[in-house]
């Protein structure tokens, strides 16, 4: 019996600098939960967008119910019976649940019919809803229920779910699984995108693992363990590591002690007892899949968020958890947040003006509040020359630089002051290979000259190349650090997927 429901045939999708999907072929069986597993940037989202009609593939076809799927928009996808629940909700916050459901329907339907259908769906799939409640008053789990019901009203054959549990509490996750199982029993098919290994094993029948735009394996989950999945997700890429530990001093430069911070917001990850030490001259890496608390931790390390619940940050034997970023810079800390445009640099301002965003004690940019334009200009020119920033000059607007050049400029600005500690998030995110190499080199050189560095990154290759120790952040908790030269990819993969041994 042929129960293949969807067949991807050699799907290829290229973007200007990256091949997001490279010759993707696999099958999804009818009435199964099929997991699509991979790191950030593995190509999962691109593939799903092609399936849902948001992107057109360059090459290849999709067979849906034994027919070639030929769609160019999500509404056509919905007409064919494909529904998708996105990671971020698209609901009108000020309207009620009922209004949102009515607005989401493409076809004409009488009010009483809608009510009957809703009651039917609610009871059949364990999806209780209060129709008169305004969306703002709902929890993230309830909002997701509204989204699911809205899709189910269209009676889809295939339901795509993008990281559905990332905003849910454990109790809500269990309820979701009950719903999904009921849907599958009825003959519907679910394509479940995730990076959580545990969910793949407990919920899904089959799994397709993607890495760097390619399908690594597509198989039943029956004979898989979290460990075997982790290895497939990350690959076995350890060659001879030449991590150099010789210059690290046995002296703690920075330590985080039991930092906890709760946000009361489903789109933020609460941090739980984050503790780690960084020695003088050491590069400490924090790995993890996006959205597990990295940006929240970064805000606390930089000092943009000083409203922590408990814990201490100690730098050079001084408590700094309540100091703002400028006061921390005065102690010789430097910061490079992930986002360049509008965070570590202001696109509308010139490069010289951007220099002023972070002032260190050894800069002479101002006296009694009055700017010294010459010294700012000199510093900008020095950064541009020393870090090979390609730009017409220091009076060019930051927005006119390419991503890699602006990142070199920002990092140059921060490390030209020879800080004792550099905290950097995603140093080479979205930039070309040349700039990537030079940035990694400059970080390694900096640490050899005695600067401690904390690197937050999703890019494991990068962390393995430059760091001395790596810890993994998952759901706001930080694992014990591992020496980079003894690192075991499978173990890292387990930690990133939320499995402790």
């Amino acid at each position: 019996m042929n129960n293949t429901f969807i067949k991807f045939n050699n799907i290829t999708k290229k973007f200007p600098r990256v091949i997001a999907n490279d010759d993707i072929s696999f099958d999804i069986k009818k009435s199964s939960v099929h997991a699509l597993l991979g790191e950030n940037g593995a190509g999962k989202s691109t593939l799903v967008k092609v399936l849902y009609g948001l992107l057109a593939s360059d090459h290849g076809t999709i067979t849906f119910n034994d027919q070639e799927l030929n769609i160019s928009s999500p509404s056509e996808a919905r007409n064919k019976g494909i529904g998708m629940v996105f990671q971020h909700f698209s609901l009108f916050e000020s309207l009620t649940v009922r209004d949102n459901l009515i607005l989401g329907i493409d076809k004409k339907i009488s009010y009483s019919d809608l009510k009957n259908q809703l009651e039917n769906i609610s009871s059949k799939y364990n999806l209780p809803l209060d129709l008169d409640a305004p969306i703002t008053s709902l929890s993230a789990g309830e909002k997701q229920r509204v989204e699911i019901v809205r899709i189910l009203l269209q009676d889809p054959q295939l339901l795509i779910m993008d990281e559905p549990t990332s905003v849910l509490t454990p109790q809500e996750v269990e309820n979701l699984f009950v719903t999904l199982n009921a849907l599958v029993k009825e003959g519907r098919t679910i394509l479940y995108i995730t990076h959580k290994l545990e969910e793949v094993i407990t919920l899904c029948n089959d799994v397709t693992i993607m890495r760097n735009g390619k399908v690594i394996d597509s198989c039943s989950t029956d004979n898989q363990t979290a460990k075997s999945l982790a290895t497939k997700m990350l690959g076995e890429k350890l060659e001879d590591l030449k991590t150099d530990y010789s210059h690290i001093k046995n002296e703690i430069s920075f330590s985080s002690k039991n930092i906890s911070c709760s946000f009361n917001d489903p789109f933020f990850t609460d941090l739980k007892n984050i503790s780690f030490d960084v020695n003088v001259g050491e590069i400490f890496g924090i790995a993890g899949v996006a959205g597990n608390g990295q940006s929240e931790l970064m805000d606390i390390l930089v000092g943009e968020n000083t409203l922590i619940d408990s814990g201490e940050l100690i730098f050079n034997n001084r408590n700094i958890e309540f100091l703002n970023p400028q006061k921390r810079r005065d102690l010789s800390m430097a910061f490079v947040p992930e986002n360049r445009l509008g965070h570590s640099a202001v696109p509308e301002l010139t490069l010289s003006e951007n220099i002023l965003l972070s002032q260190f004690p050894n800069n002479k940019f101002s006296k009694n509040g009055i700017l010294n334009h010459n010294s700012i200009e000199d510093y900008a020119i020095k950064v541009i020359e020393n870090f090979n920033v390609v730009t017409p000059g220091s009076d060019a607007k930051a927005s006119s630089l390419s991503g890699g050049n602006l990142q070199k400029f920002v990092i140059g600005r921060e490390i030209s002051s020879k800080p004792k500690l550099l905290i950097i998030s995603h140093p080479t995110w979205g930039i070309d290979a040349g700039a990537e190499h030079s940035i990694r080199e400059s970080l390694i050189d900096l640490s050899k000259n005695g600067t401690s560095i904390i690197v937050l990154s999703q890019d494991l290759d990068e962390l393995i190349e430059i760091t001395h120790r790596i810890a993994v952040i998952f759901d706001g908790k930080l694992s014990k650090p591992i020496n980079t030269n003894e690192v075991d990819i499978a173990k890292l993969g387990l930690l990133m997927g939320g499995k402790n041994e």
Binding site: V302, G303, E304, N324, P325, Q326, K327, R328, R329, F335, P337, N339, G342, H343, S344, A345, V346, P347, E348, L349, E353, L356, L357, S358, S366, G369, I370, L371, A396, K397, S400
Partner: protein, 355 residues
Amino acid sequence: MNKFIPIIISRPQSSNLMNVLVPVIAVILTLLTGSIIFSIMGFNPFFALHTFFISPISTSYGISELLVKATPLALIAIGLAFCFKNNIYNIGAEGQLTMGAIFGGGIGIYFYDTNAFWLLPLMILGGAIGGALWAMIPALLKTKFNTNEILTSLMLVYVALLILDYLVVGPWKDPLGYSFPKTRQFSESGRMPLLFAGLRVHFGLIITLVLIFFSWFIFSKTIFGFQLKVSGYSPTAARYAGFSQNILVYLAFGICGAFAGIAGLSEVSGPIGLLYRDISPNYGFTAIIVAFLGRLHPIGIIFASLIIALTYLGAEDAQLFMQIPAAVGFVFQGLILFYLLGADLLVNYKLEFNK
């Protein structure tokens, strides 16, 4: 069909020359459009434009009147620039002006029979404090309760106007004034000195020019000016740099309120000489247009205040000599703003047609 709809593409670098020329181009286009409108209305466009833009300022008296009107507009607008650069939308300058007039004018009324050199400086100080205090209310509400300053500052305009109303018909009423809603005259030393005998242009103009220079210095040479700019463009970057948003909110509101208060005081102690109900023909609101026309830049604001003041004078003359409604003045204000914003767009973006 799509062939005729242009795509708007951002220019990598806008031309500095064009940036300077934009206001000039906008004025020329406004005059061209104005002459077409006048032709349609049946007037000789040259005569009409002459009546509107030349004859009001063809006498020394006319130029003095232009400066009298431009003085409060420019002073309030440069104050507003502190707020607008920081993306704080203080719409309540009219209320801050009124409070300045009440505080400063109150001192003038209290010392109505005193003649001393310190009286005017004290009144100016009172005006600045009155305006700044009134501006502190929306600032406090914004930083403590995250209220929208557009609403609070606007509503406080009407509160201030009603307080003035109450004072001039109640406790501060001129005892010898036959129950007219006005106060006593300020003493001679409580009046802004006139700059030229026989003309109404007064010392307030000098104060305005000094404060405009002061603001230019703050904007281009100090850390504080830089902080205003950064937090206006990107609050996230300002937080990263470690600037305190709350302090910036208080300072911007405080400076803006003080400037508007001084403008109010210099109106009542300049041309008017006492307090009554209608001390300002909406200078506080019109200054918002001036600030944006002048692109929040000190020099730009000086020119913009002269242009807007001229549309007021021209509208009065057009009403007198051409029997057309004074509202034509607003048509010209609108045209200038329209062409300026349009030209601005084309400096930063280009249109591309599909070939």
